[in-house]
């Protein structure tokens, strides 16, 4: 089994960076030959996908539009999408039909993007049998691999897995993306760590460049103390320093197509900072797309069974705890509606920033070329149903016809996952459990 990188808090960006580039001990260092941070030389439209996740189901009555078709009303949970209503496609009736080991929260997140069963394992949920990790790759990674295989669509990272307030714990409830069977991917939920990963190399170059003068001055002093024979090596060394200086200068112009973003310093990763962290992560995601670091991203808010306490909305109770309350508890349902509306605001902010950002080197905006899908591990919190999983799609990345509310009748979500792949031109016939792919991709065009 491959090493499962499950810790999100580690800060060893430099080392990760080396591993990321696949540099073995035999390869030589990289400081000055970072992979191109500029744009891939694509002439085709740059299609992008973002999967946004929030947990614990929704309140159906305040979420799903009553109408089907182009004329529909956004209810309170989805109200923040009003400005983008014509760019929005709401899919009702899509169901996670994967069974097998694990409780519904576990299968809810673990099978959401993989469409396959979990392996048997040692993680015991509140009911049902214990389970382990998903037994297959997730669709975001499938698409990433497809894009990375083609030089025209290959990018520095291919995909970015982001999170907001994901617990520092690796188990079935905290992982959504899988590079393959038993290979969960840890989302980065620390904006500073994400920043280092995206821009650390550039910052390092700046630092090196700015200490070279001091270094050269000292080397000149040292040279005076050496015998003429010994100066040979030092002079050779000084040439190397000058080479490096020259290369650093030359690289300045071709690093990124935009200024390195500034992020607010010192924001601690605590519950009450969730809105600020969310905004920071969205900003870094927009920057990553502008720089064409990746074409695929996931943005995972908390985790399956997530317990965010949205005190900034005046809600003190944990989200998961509230989601167990019965329909008859109107106060709880009201709070759950507001919680989901808050998540929808994050979606709307993301969409707004995409819509404001011109497509670099292309036409229109990022939103024209990006599809954002907002989803959840459950259909409804208190029933733990895996039917009618929320899927709200916004943007023009995959060419789906938006401005519609569609109501399907219990179609397996594997078919939607297939639609995403087909939207990128990756025409696979099945994804995940083969039985649930029959009928092929949902027709969303």
């Amino acid at each position: 089994m491959e090493r499962v990188d499950v810790n999100t808090k580690r800060k060893r960006t430099r080392r990760e960076f080396v591993r990321e580039l696949g540099l073995s001990a035999a390869a030589l260092p990289f400081i000055l030959n970072l992979p191109s941070l500029g744009f891939a030389g694509a002439t085709r439209r740059k299609q992008r996908l973002i999967v946004m996740f929030s947990p614990n189901g929704i309140v159906p009555a305040t979420f799903w539009p009553d109408e089907e078709g182009e004329h529909f009303t956004l209810k309170r949970s989805l109200e923040p999408l009003e400005p983008w209503k014509d760019r929005t496609l709401i899919l009702h009736g899509v169901c996670d039909k994967i069974r097998g080991d694990g409780d519904n929260h576990m299968r809810g997140i673990g099978c959401l993007l993989t469409g396959v069963e979990l392996f048997p394992g040692n993680i015991q949920g509140g009911s049902h049998t214990p389970a382990g990790w998903a037994s297959g790759i997730s669709i975001d990674q499938e698409i990433k691999n497809f894009l990375q295989a083609n030089p025209e669509t290959r990018t520095r990272f291919g995909s970015l897995e982001l999170g907001v307030m994901v617990p520092e714990r690796a188990d079935t409830w905290t992982r959504m993306s899988y590079a393959g069977p038993n290979q969960p991917l840890a989302p980065i939920d620390d904006p500073y760590r994400l920043f280092d990963r995206l821009y650390g190399g550039i910052e390092d170059r700046e630092t090196v460049k700015s200490v070279l003068d001091d270094l050269k001055d000292d080397m000149r002093k040292l040279r005076d103390e050496l015998s003429s024979e010994d100066r040979r090596l030092l002079d050779e060394h000084a040439d190397r320093v000058r080479d490096m200086e020259r290369e650093l200068r030359a690289s300045e112009t071709k690093d990124v197509g935009h200024a390195v973003p500034r992020i607010e310093p010192g924001v601690e990763e605590v519950n009450d900072n969730m809105p600020r962290i969310s905004a920071m992560q969205i900003e870094l995601l927009i920057n990553s797309f502008t720089a064409d670091f990746a074409r695929v991203a996931t943005l995972q808010y908390t985790n399956s069974v997530g317990q965010a306490r949205m005190r900034w909305l005046g809600i003190d109770k944990g989200h998961h705890q509230l989601s167990h309350e019965p329909d008859s508890n109107h106060e709880a349902q009201e709070q759950l509606t507001r919680i989901n509306a808050w998540y929808c605001e994050q979606l709307a902010l993301l969409v707004k920033r995409l819509a404001e950002t011109p497509e670099p080197g292309g036409e229109g905006t990022l939103l024209d070329n990006t599809t954002v899908i907002w989803t959840n591990e459950l259909g409804k919190g208190n029933s733990h149903t895996l039917n009618d999983i929320p899927f709200v799609l916004v943007g023009g990345g995959l060419g789906f016809r938006t401005g519609r509310s569609l109501k399907h009748r219990g179609v397996p979500h594997n078919r939607l996952l297939l639609s995403l792949a087909h939207g990128f031109g990756h025409r696979i016939e099945r994804f995940g459990e083969p039985d649930f792919s029959s009928g092929g991709p949902l027709d969303l065009a």
């Binding site: 810790n7 080392r15 001990a25 015991q124 990790w133 200490v211 080397m219 103390e225 060394h237």
Partner: protein
């Protein structure tokens, strides 16, 4: 018949050159007598210079190579008399031959003359890759706050010599409190089958265990660590925050989890392994009681070896501090002269050095509060960070900073950086990019006490001086030879010095990471990867025992009659041990009692897949052990196939192929050394006959003086090598080069002889030799007396140590 060229004998004259200074030649203090010298020179110019050049440097198109070698004057005279000049040997005979030989010998031919003519000097050198890694590890290690002892108050855990890991077993899901069993587990290879360890105390439905202590790396490089278990487990190695292997979620049928980690050899790394057979997540009451069945093994796979349970001797129940290991890949060092040295500054090296500086700076910044003893919001944070940086730069430079340096390397960085972290990062990068860190011995004409301390530590540890050394430098004590010798004596007990000796022996014996030990399956059935891997382990066990013995006895390397065997090896080599026996020492028979020479790893490595190779064995003995430098053969030869001459033994076949006179100048020596080991076949098994004929294992060796020694077999050869001056001289030279990474003759033509004497005085203790080599190199250019230093010799003060 092989090609014979008109000048083959010239080649034979020059073919036997010597590495460094060596072999038997007696230095004539006064040089040749002037009159004879002039006559010899005149003859040389008349008869020889047209082919050999005015001073024996060679002439392109004629005899292009320098006229250097190690034949005795007498042999040289005879050779010239018989064969020179090439077109008419009669022109130079009798006294003419004698005086010209004398001239050639003393003017440029002999090793001493070569040394005299060579402008050997101690060259400025940068750190080798290994030194660089060690220096950074010790730089960061030396700045870490001293851990609080970490003693557990238990003899079995605290002991410095205990092997294994501390094993704690819990009935709860978590570890840390209320262990029901707490013991020393020699290794982690545990099967739980109903009867778990101390089963009467552990609940049948599942338990949790933790093993802790440290692991010593046997190699520098990637170590693949493997956990085998049918339950959940996770491992931390050299990093308390980040798991190396996380299989805490049991998922599917995987029972093997692995990860690679780059480690510096010879150092101990903290390790923690946890295991649970219980479920995670919601703690449900068990509705069925299953007996706790299962297993866990902690294994590793070393380069070129098969996976094995991590042996007890590499484990210790004592926790050690983390070691910062730079992972930046470096280009390999130049070793064209036989030892690694840093005498060039290539672009790839420089890029790597800067990348390593950044990697180190990132680590420092990530741990800055712990390292600098401060925290966010500390009112003295800035001062503490500056102080920390000053200490770091001083340690990196191995000497106190002048006020100007302090300003440049520390204060200025704080002045321009946006915040404290950024300043620390700049200071670390600048310090580690500076030649003051990157060069072993840089500074003024006259070495001072700090230079001495660095020279000592790089010679013995390939690393920075420790506090003790720096303190001795600061006080000026290190300017006395006695103190230098005392420090060297202290330092050779350190694991880093043991590692350096081990590394040297591996290099000397050409023990490679991935030797090609594949053997012909039909001829040597059963000699597989596992046997090859075990042989390597067996040889390492032997070497470790010598290295770690009371005296690291050089002669013991040739005289040992013991062999480390496990059950698998014993079966293959015909010794009597249970099939699953772990490694243990077995007394071997007469022929096998030749130490490394009769070790099956060496014998198998110096063989072909289907037959022995007396030539490989002989070249190894001549070159590595006796210090003879051999030129490559004049042209490439394919060895005769055994099948082409089915009636011949290997010995006969080799003699046939190398019989031409042109070959014999070298092969006369090579073959007769290598034949001595014919007692052992291509997998190192003892044999009495080959192809129906009795094995002839006799051999001989002709000293440069012309004296011939004969050997009846391996044992006599080993005894000769153990007692030969030539062997110990060659060994001393090699050790010097490995430790100091500078040409030994740059330290004076008499240095090899002095060290050889010292080696003999120390009864051939290799550790003592190391100390002596390091002392002598450290004091080069220093007017060291046993007198206490005068105050004016104290240069600079280390306020911060």
């Amino acid at each position: 018949m092989l090609r014979r060229t008109g000048s083959f004998w010239c080649r034979s004259l020059a073919a036997l050159v010597i590495v460094g200074g060596a072999a038997g030649a007696v230095r004539s203090a006064d040089g040749p007598e002037p009159a004879l010298d002039q006559r010899g020179a005149a003859i040389f110019q008349r008869l020889c210079a047209s082919c050999h050049g005015d001073s024996g440097q060679g002439v392109a198109g004629e005899y292009p190579r320098p006229l250097v070698g190690d034949k005795s004057l007498e042999k040289l005279t005879r050779l010239i008399e018989r064969t020179m000049p090439d077109d008419d040997p009669k022109q130079c005979v009798g006294e003419d031959a004698a005086v010209v030989a004398r001239y050639v010998h003393d003017a440029f031919y002999s090793p001493i003359a070569q040394a005299r003519n060579r402008t050997a000097r101690v060259e400025l050198a940068r750190l080798t890759v290994g030194q660089h890694r060690n220096a950074i590890a010790d730089l960061i290690g030396g700045l870490r706050p001293v851990p609080d002892g970490g003693r557990d108050g238990r003899a079995d855990i605290d002991s410095d010599t205990a092997h294994g890991l501390r094993g704690e077993y819990y009935n709860s899901r978590r570890v840390g409190r209320g262990a029901v069993v707490d013991r020393l587990d020699p290794e982690v290879r545990i099967a739980f089958s109903g009867a778990s360890p101390a089963h009467e105390k552990l609940e049948p439905e599942g338990f949790t265990a933790r093993w802790s202590g440290s692991l010593t790396a046997p190699e520098t490089g990637e170590h693949r660590i493997i956990i085998r278990t049918d339950h959940a487990a996770r491992l931390w190695l050299n990093d308390d925050d980040q798991t190396l292997i996380d299989a805490w979620v049991k998922s599917g049928d995987d029972t093997e989890h692995d990860a690679s980690i780059f480690l510096i050899g010879g150092r101990a790394y903290p390790l923690r392994l946890e295991f649970t057979s219980r479920t995670q997540g919601v703690d449900k009451k068990k509705d069925e009681t299953k007996p706790a069945e299962g297993f866990i093994e902690l294994q590793w796979k070393l380069p070129g070896r098969v996976a094995e349970v991590v042996p007890s001797r590499y484990l210790s129940p004592r926790r050690t501090p983390e070691v910062f290991v730079v992972e930046t890949p470096f280009p390999p060092d130049d070793r064209s002269v036989g030892y690694e040295r840093g005498t060039s500054a290539s672009k790839s090296w420089h890029d790597a050095a800067i990348a390593a500086a950044i990697e180190t700076a990132d680590h420092v910044v990530d741990h800055i509060d712990r390292l600098a003893g401060t925290r966010k919001g500390d009112s003295e944070r800035d001062a503490k960070l500056r102080h920390f940086c000053a200490r770091l730069v001083e340690r990196a430079f191995r000497r106190p900073l002048s006020p100007e340096q302090r300003e440049r390397f520390v204060d200025r960085q704080f002045a321009v950086a946006a915040d404290g972290e950024a300043a620390v990062k700049r200071a670390v990068i600048l310090a580690l990019a500076s030649p003051r860190f990157l060069y072993v011995d840089i500074g003024g004409e006259t070495p001072d006490a700090y230079d001495i301390s660095s020279r000592l530590s790089f010679a013995l540890w390939d690393s920075l001086p420790d506090d003790d050394l720096l303190e001795a430098a600061a006080s000026g004590r290190l300017l006395s030879r006695d103190e230098v010798a005392r420090q060297a004596g202290r330092m050779i007990a350190d694991p880093r010095a043991r590692w350096k000796l081990r590394e040297f022996l591996r290099h000397w014996l050409e023990i490679e990471h991935a030797p090609d030990l594949a053997k012909d399956g039909e001829r040597y059935p059963g000699f597989d990867e596992s046997i090859a891997s075990d042989l390597r382990a067996s040889l390492e066990l032997f070497l470790d025992e010598v290295i770690d013995g009371d005296r690291a006895d050089f002669r013991g390397l040739f005289r040992s009659d013991e062999l480390w065997l496990n059950g698998r090896l014993a079966r293959f080599y015909g010794f009597d041990l249970p099939a699953d026996a772990p490694f243990r020492k077995i007394a071997a028979d007469g022929d096998r009692s030749a130490g490394v020479l009769s070790h099956p790893y060496m014998l198998a490595k110096l063989s072909y897949p289907d037959s022995t190779s007396p030539i490989h064995r002989g070249v190894f003995l001549a070159r590595n052990v006796l210090g003879r430098a051999l030129r490559p053969p004049p042209e490439a030869f394919t060895p005769f196939s055994p099948d082409l001459h089915p009636e011949l033994t290997t010995r006969e076949r080799v003699m046939l192929q190398t019989s031409p006179t042109g070959c014999q100048s070298c092969h006369g020596m090579i073959n007769s050394l290598g034949f001595t080991l014919e007692r052992f076949d291509a997998v190192g098994r003892r044999r009495d006959e080959e192809r129906g004929k009795p094995v002839d294992s006799s051999g001989s060796y002709e000293l440069p003086s012309g004296e011939l020694t004969t050997f009846a077999g391996p044992r006599e050869l080993a005894e000769f090598l153990a007692t030969s001056d030539q062997t110990s001289r060659a060994f001393v030279v090699r050790v010097f080069h490995h430790l100091v990474k500078q040409p030994i003759l740059a330290y004076g033509v008499e240095t090899p002889a002095e060290l050889e004497t010292a080696f003999a005085d120390a009864r051939f203790d290799m550790r003592q030799l190391m100390a002596r080599v390091a002392t002598s190199a450290a004091l080069a250019g220093v007017d060291a007396t046993a007198d206490p230093p005068r105050p004016d010799q104290r240069r600079g003060r280390f306020a911060r140590f």
